[in-house]
């Protein structure tokens, strides 16, 4: 069982998952900055140059770790690794990765889904669009 949570300056690298010989299921989510977003809720689509992520440190990283630990226990998964960007991330680049290892896919999917929902609600990270 292991948890890793880290806030990283700038975009994340696409990474091959590490070997995990004991886990039957490895599920990895990557959040990519979309090149077009609605301007405001229900607004017209507009081209985006980047997103700028503001984090409340060190609470953001601690919250990610606490959430990972909670999901690990609740869904009985083996390991959770989460990285989130701080600062500017250009459109097309990765700002968030979440990797879950579990015995079976059902637990991995449940843990990943709940993690992301909870993160958006509880982890102090704010994004600001940088329009083109």
């Amino acid at each position: 069982m292991s948890v890793q949570a880290r806030i990283v300056d700038g975009p994340l690298d696409p990474q091959a998952p590490e070997a995990s010989p004991g886990s039957g299921a490895v599920l990895r989510f990557e959040g990519v900055v979309r090149p077009v977003e609605p301007q405001g809720p229900g607004g017209a689509p507009r081209e985006l140059a980047a997103l700028h992520y503001e984090t409340y440190d060190p609470m953001a990283e601690r919250s990610l770790a606490a959430l990972a630990t909670e999901m690990l226990a609740r869904h009985r998964v083996h390991a959770i690794r989460v990285l989130h960007s701080r600062g500017r991330v250009s459109a097309g680049a990765i700002s968030f990765t979440l990797e879950v290892r579990a015995a079976h896919r059902a637990e991995a999917i449940a843990a990943l889904t709940e993690f992301i929902d909870r993160m958006k609600r509880d982890v102090p990270i704010w994004k600001r669009p940088v329009w083109r």
Binding site: E54, M59, S63, I116, R121, I125, W126, K127
Partner: protein
Amino acid sequence: MSDRETARFRVLLFGPARERASADHVLVDAPVGTACAGLLQAMGAQHPALAFVLPAARLAVNHALAPADRVPDPGDEIALIALVDGG
């Protein structure tokens, strides 16, 4: 209220609240013993520019989300956590 009855809290701001207030924190006066729910209300009253965040607002006390009935100390690190569309 006398000085003994009122305390001054420093509340850190982020995201849209920081932009709207054009400041990285606000000062909020509230009676000693005020819980987080009351402190948020006082903040909205004393800084009307921040009233828009109240529906989604919680406070973090010393880097942990605090329940509404938590009574913060003026010496705590208090932050406004209003995540409309985070992550």
